[in-house]
Structure formats: C-alpha cells, structure tokens
C-alpha cells in the first residue's frame, strides 16, 4: 500500500472514480494542465483527457450551476472551487437548485454532483484564502456536507461523495493536505457518509471535532492521557446529515463533551451538535458542553491566524474545565 498525503488521497480517489465510471467529470479553475493550485487534480488531464478534466472560466456561480445541468443529464461532475472563501457565489445554485432538484421534480431529475474546496487556515495564505465555511451549508435541506481529516478518510469519503446520488459539498482542510502521510489502499472502497468516526477511545471526556482540528483534538487527548485523563475523540466527518449515535453513546459514558472546530463559534455545526446533546444527551451530562472554536471574528491575516485557530492548549483547558464538575 502506498503512503499518501491527504491531497494525494483526493487525487487517488478522483482517479479511481473516473476510472470506474465514465460519467465522472472533473472541472474548475486551473484543474487541467496546472493540476489544481494544490495539485489535487494533478495528472488527471493527461490520463482522462480534456473532455473529462477541464478548466472553466473564472465564475464560481456558474461552475456550480453548470454542474447542476451536467448532473441532471446523468454525469457526475466533481467541481472544484479554488478556495472556500470563493464558494459564496455558488451557494445560490447549491440551495436553490442542486439540493432541491430531486425534490422539486419528485425525483424525475436528480443532481449527483460534488463541490470540492479547500477549507480552513493555517497555511500562511493570503486574505480570503483561509476561511471555514461549513456553517453556510449545513442548513441546506437536500445537501450532504463532508469534511475529511486524514488521507484514508479523504479517499473513502470522496469516493462515497462522488458515487452518492445526491449533491455533496466536500471541504478539504489544506493545513492537512501535506501534513501527514498514511497508507491508503487504492481499492475503490468508499466509506459511509452516514457515520461519525470514533478515532480514539476514552472514558473521561468526549472530544468532538472534524477537519484540521482533529489534529489538535488528538494532540490534546495525548497530553491529557499523560495526566491520566482518557479522552474519547470523535471525528464527525459528515456534518450533514449528522450521525449523533457515537457522540451520544460516548457522552453517556463520559458525561463531558468538548466540541472543537475552526469555523467561527456562532451558528457553526458545533452549535448543532451541542444542541442535539442538550436535547438527547442532557441526562448524561455532568458538565457544561464546551466549544473551542475560531472566534466570532474575521479570519485574521497570517500573522494572527495561529491565535485564531483552536490550539491544543485551548482544547486541553476546556477538557480540564469539564473535569472540574463531579
């Protein structure tokens, strides 16, 4: 099994999906000869040709909108938005069309498309290149929202997203694109889009997170373990629909929950998770649910981005706060 980076795994999954299914297309700005600004689509043009891998004009609204048309025709377009800070013009198409085409035609037409974008900071990028936008998609009925946190998950979840009969927004953390390598078997096996993943077991406190923040959550769990505190870590990965099963089961055991994400606090998916715990796991809780998140500020330019992104330190502090309750 080859060791690949997360962006390498994205590339593998795209190639595998295209190999398996001639209706899969890859499109977006600079995805062709350049192979994507992060190289996620590297080599695909050479391998699958200009009819299946093509650059679009610079027009995010219509990249999404054109994908809707292709998908309605039975293609499976995988459209790349170069950075999630430029995804906003595509929201109109996602909410008003992609996510409702099946519903509004009572399944006469459907929209099996994927909208991929790098999402999040920590790469010393320019203004507008480090945003976390998942909150803009989780309220859209008919949509799936997926955020991988490792090469294996990127591979398996992206395959699942491409094969899914409905539209998926797939947000990749660029901070993890080349941060770690992992053995990934290119076996065409998709992961489920309906499951939260327990990635570390523990009995004292539940850390719930996704995307790049998985790194800080796992580091915090390591540090806490050194102090005798066993944290369970759950990578939600699929933010919508949301699988609360493992989270509620864990909180039932630990009684404590810290939610960690990079998006600004207010109205992000962490709120939804906390709300569902307050509804369905309340009686298990011995301590207030904590959220360690980006602040409700504009993502600062690079000199301050580290101060914005939830640190391991902040996760540990929050976990320890929950442990102050008996």
């Amino acid at each position: 099994m080859p060791e690949v980076t997360l962006v390498g795994a994205v590339n593998l999954a795209l190639a595998r999906a295209m190999e398996d299914d001639p209706s899969v297309l890859v499109l977006g700005e600079d995805v062709g000869v350049d192979g994507g600004v992060f190289r996620a689509t590297d080599g695909l043009l050479g391998r699958f040709g200009p009819e299946r891998v093509f650059d679009t004009p610079l027009a995010e609204a219509s990249i999404a909108g054109m994908a809707v048309g292709l998908a309605a025709q039975g293609f499976r377009p995988v459209a790349e938005i170069q950075f999630s800070g430029f995804i906003y013009p595509a929201i109109d198409q996602m909410v008003n069309h992609a996510a409702r085409l099946r519903n509004r035609t009572r399944s006469r037409l459907s929209c099996p498309m994927v909208l991929r974008a790098p999402n999040g900071g920590g790469i010393r990028a320019a203004e507008h290149h480090s945003e976390s936008v998942e909150a803009f998609f989780v309220n859209i009925p008919g949509l799936r929202v997926v955020v991988p946190s490792s090469p294996a998950k990127a591979y398996g979840l992206l395959l699942a997203a491409i094969r899914d009969p409905d539209p998926v927004v797939f947000l990749e953390p660029p901070r993890l694109y080349r941060a770690l390598k992992e053995e990934v078997a290119d076996d065409g096996r998709a992961l489920s889009l309906d499951t939260s993943f327990v990635i570390r077991e523990g009995t004292d406190v539940t850390l719930v997170t996704w995307g790049a923040s998985v790194v800080e959550a796992m580091a915090a769990a390591d540090d806490l373990a050194a102090d005798g505190v066993e944290a369970e870590v759950i990578d939600v990965a699929c933010l919508k629909p949301l699988d609360m099963g493992p989270i509620l089961a864990s909180v039932e055991r630990t009684g404590r929950c810290v939610i960690v994400h990079e998006a600004p606090l207010t109205g992000a998916p962490g709120a939804e998770i906390a709300a569902r715990i307050a509804e369905r796991g309340l009686m298990s809780l011995v301590a207030p649910v904590q959220r360690v998140t980006g602040y409700d500020t504009v993502m600062p330019l690079l000199r301050l981005e580290k101060a914005f992104i939830p640190s391991t330190r902040r996760v540990i502090d929050a976990a320890l706060r929950t442990l102050e309750y008996a």
Binding site: A64, M66, M244
Partner: protein, 356 residues
Amino acid sequence: MAVATFEIGFTRFLDRSGEVVQPLPAFASEAKALIPLYRSMTRLRMFDAKAVALQRTGRLGTYAAALGEEAVTIGLASAMAADDVLVPAFRDQGAQLWRGVGLVDILAYWGGDERGSVAGPSEDFPVCVPIGTHFPHAVGVALAIKLRRQSRAVVCIGGDGATSKGDVYEAMNMAGLWQLPVVFVVSNNQWAISVPRQRQTAAATLAQKAIAAGIPGEQVDGNDVIAVRHAVDEALAAARAGRGPRLIEAVTYRLGDHTTSDDATRYRDDATVSTHWAEEPLVRLRRYLTAQGVWTKEDEEAMQVALAAEIEKAVADYLALPPPAPQDMFDHLFAVLPADLKAQRDTLAEEEALHA
C-alpha cells in the same frame, strides 16, 4: 484602429396587420402549417385566463400569465425537436404545454403541489423561479450533449430583467467558449415587474449582450411567431451542427399584470398598454390565416369551444387532485432518506396521526 466590429439584425415576417413583409421561411410556405401554432397560442391564452381566474377565487397560487408573449414561448417550442431540452423560466408554460406537459400539471405546480413538475419530456427542466439561475443549467445540459456527441440542443429562456443578472452573462460566456449547442432566448416583454426595460440597461438592444460572450445575437419581432420560430429553427440547426450558441432577443410586450400578485396600474398607464394591443401576436396570425383562406370564423368558434372544454376538464381534474400527504416533503429529498431525516419524518407522521 478598429480591431472588431459587430452588427445586430432584426427580423420580422408578419407585420401587425398580418401582411407578409418578406419571403416566408419554408416551414411557413403553406399557411395551413401555421394552424397548430395559432391553436397553441390560443390555447395558452385561454388557459392563462382561466388560471388567473382560479387564482382570483383562491383556488390557485400566484400565477404568471404569458399574455402578449404567446408567439415567443410557442414559437420557440415549435422549433424544438422532441429530444431537445427545454430549460424554461417561470412564464414558459406555453413552451411546456407545446412539449406535452399537461394542463393539470401546470395547475398543480402553481397550485402548490410538487407533483406538477413530474410530467413532460423527461429531460426538460421544471420552470425556474429565481431569475436567470437556470442559464448555467442550460450550459451544463448542452455540455453533456456535446460530450456525448449527440445531435440535439437546448433552449433556455429568460426575460429582459434576467439579462441584468451575472449568472446569465456567465452562462452565455461559457456556452460561447465551448461552442455548446444551446439557444438563449430573451423574451423582452419590456418589463421586469415595474421596472421598464430602459431601466435595466443602457444597451440599445438586449441582443447585443451576446457580443460580450463572443456569440451571435439578433433581434426578432417577438409578436411574429414565424420570426421567432424561424430564428430558433436556424439557431437550433447551427447548434446541433456544432456551430455553437446564439442569443435571440424576441421583442414583445407584457400586456397583463406581472403576476396575479401584481397591479400594473401602479406603474404604467393603460393608454400605453393599449397601443401595444395593436401589436399582439394572435390577431396578426389570424389575419394572415384568414387572408390566406385557411381559417374561418367557424374554425375559430369550433376551436374555442374545444379548447374551453379541454381547459374545463383540466381544471376539474386539478381541483379533484387529492392533497399531498405532509410526509411527502421528505420522500424526494434524497435517493435514500438519511436516518436523522427518517426520524423527523416519523415524528411528523405521528403528530399528524395524533392530532388528526
């Protein structure tokens, strides 16, 4: 030094009095062949009137009649082949009807029932309410057709107001770039609700919007169904032959309110509207047919009776449609309903049962 020059043409065959002003295209060489167009335009007008009446009496939701624009929507539909794909705006029930969507379906949709969008040629899009957002869909469909090397094409329709939207421009630009088989038709009815066409843009014509996209643009008399059909015919032939997209501006006039929610007397005076009645598309075609001796008063009466009966029947069927079940709102969200939604669906069903 001039590096590029452009010209926008205008085409008309039948003038307002039904006189032929230039040699007719082949499809119109026999006057009789135009009767189906006349019949469909009349059907649309009668149906629209009925729908408006239903709305006025609380039996339909908001409705947008095509009054005055029948030649555009029927003309373009009549140019399409069965396997071409229609990507319509919200006022294009005429084109839908021509292509086989039932009167009942149109009523069901505007009556607030998603089942109204099931019928029709299976690849056609349902009507699009958010202005202009369907233009990129047409590009995607046309790209799909091109990738499959099929000899068919897409017709996408918008209003004068739609030409101000960025996605409409983006879509035309993409279609031009890739030389896709799509025909964009702007039904310039001079109004976007209360905003007159002159307040949408300083452009002298809407056809010239095409120049920005590097594609041909032309104007036709949108009250002359022969001109509309001819232009769309030619554009479709070019599109199917791989010669790329075109933009056709059909110059017409919205004779009625914007929709049943609108009161046009707030922003335009009846006198101006009246002058446009002299241009309207049905009369001029009837005059021509009559002059050619292929249409009589009796034909007219018989047609009206038949259409009225058809429409009455459709209304009765519509009113008899059983209401959708509340839990239907979950059943076409996803191919397979995810677990957390299934729970919501169950709760809804339980509550319905509980309080029934």
